[in-house]
Symmetry: C2
């Protein structure tokens, strides 16, 4: 089992469980509060680590106490943080996850521009990226930094891309190099130029993207399922958690488990089932932090 | 100018300015984020200090990093924090103040029971309370702790009470001893047994409360004004900030300025006008932290 490098966001995840959002001018008591390591990059790295992979982060935090806390928490999770930049004068990203009533989530996102990756930050982590067995690339990061990361990846390593770059040129670079691409419904529209209206349309969109480079394409359908397609077939995976507490982090766990499965040499259909189980686990708890294990995904993943 | 001891809540105030609260399942970017010393007690102590009084706090924070930060911030503001307990195993209170669009505020309040004052905490601060020229008492704290604080206050010192105790016996103790009482509309209903429907009714409620002990009664009217009454008369002070950004902390600044004014020996009508100016200043900015000065309240307070 080799190492996975996650290129993306690291921040603080403040999870506030409430009975509901108060009306204008009102107040609501917080039933439960947790402050966790968060951000899509950290969530994915933690998921990879929990599934048995070595994991490293390429990301930016502030030179504030929250940044120090986030790095310490990631290190305590066994994640290599040598590729994380602490930016002077920047505030670490804060993601406030207001959950309540159960299943209803609202996010207040403060991701200052200063904690997005710059090409220089990625170049400084070139050795880490070049030595990775797999790279998980979050396309919410600026296009030039994504392009820089793609340049640093070794030819034989697995590339899993999450999202849709705004820039058309970067989009083509990603589709050309990525082994696997994951997108939600809005990102699917950005990648293909139109939003699928149902699951059948999502399967068609996945087939179209397979023709543009990747060997595995995972798209969320607007009907509450995940479609995972590869040249020889596809699976439609309805969401496994019938009563989700909080969808935050579900997509990140999906990507992490998909990457670990593919890196293990599993068939795309098997890796997809691991991903669906991982996503359901996170959606079943408040906050974006996964609580995965290899046993969980192997035991619960339905057979194809 | 003597010292004011504030008995109340200290915590973190996380102010998030957004364009609006996202719909269920949605996300909204935070336009501006600030993390400040907060809680009604801290806000009142900061206000007293800014208006030139010596100020001390009797309060409880957790033995966590947030508690250490809150104490350091209060000390940096020149507040005596020797009466603040750091409770092992408790989490410092967190007040999330979601502001947006301007003027619309929602509070998510996490005040764990462990950071409410216990009678022992108040007894430990008896010397501080007994030596105070004035005590500002927040009646959101548990009744037995409020009663303990009243026992510790020296006979000649000024007592300003803010709110309405749930417990009837404590309510009578407070009305009997307090020189001044401040209440919002809900608290007025708790103190008098009925909610005034308009400003005239609020004046009648203030007169009734004057008959029960205090020499100054300040009540918010349901029509957006503050009524301040004393045995010789009353003033009705319409809110001075026509375009409030965030009402958080307005009531705390009101109480602080009223207390400082009365302690200075100002007439109740003058102290009331200081209070109205202080409240408007805080309502004109996001977050509960005041930005007061003696010059501000003296210059802007309208003559009676």
């Amino acid at each position: 089992m080799g190492g996975i490098v996650v290129v993306g966001q690291v921040g603080r995840d403040l999870v506030l469980e409430v009975d509901g959002v108060p009306p204008e001018g009102g107040a609501a008591p917080v039933r439960r509060r947790r402050e966790l390591l968060g951000g899509k990059g950290a969530n994915q790295a933690v998921g990879c680590r929990q599934l048995g992979a070595r994991a490293a982060l390429v990301a930016v935090v502030g030179a504030d106490a929250a940044g120090a806390d986030a790095l310490a928490a990631a290190a305590a999770d066994g994640i290599d943080v040598t590729g994380v930049v602490r930016r002077d004068g920047a505030a670490t990203a804060l993601l406030v996850d207001v959950v309540g009533p159960p299943g209803v989530r609202r996010l207040l996102e403060d991701v200052p521009e200063e904690v997005l990756l710059r090409p220089d930050d990625v170049r400084a982590a070139a050795a880490l990226l070049g030595g990775a067995d797999a790279v998980l690339l979050q396309l919410q990061q600026p296009g030039p930094s994504v392009a820089e990361a793609l340049r640093a990846v070794a030819p034989g390593s697995l590339v899993v891309a999450d999202g849709a770059p705004d820039d058309e040129r970067v989009r083509e670079l990603v589709l050309d190099r990525a082994d696997a691409v994951r997108a939600d419904t809005a990102e699917t529209a950005a990648l293909t130029g139109r939003a699928p209206g149902d699951t059948a349309g999502t399967v068609r969109a996945a087939r179209e993207l397979l023709g543009r480079g990747p060997r595995v394409v995972a798209l969320a359908s607007p009907e509450g399922a995940d479609v995972v397609a590869w040249p020889g077939g596809h699976v439609v995976l309805p969401h496994l958690e019938p009563d989700p507490v909080d969808p935050t982090g579900g997509g990140d766990a999906f990507v992490a488990a998909l990457a670990v499965g593919l890196l293990h040499g599993e068939e795309p259909g098997t890796a997809a089932r691991w991903a669906a189980v991982a996503s359901a686990q996170v959606a079943g708890t408040a906050g974006g932090r996964p609580g995965l294990s290899p046993e969980l995904v192997r035991r619960q993943a339905p057979r194809g």
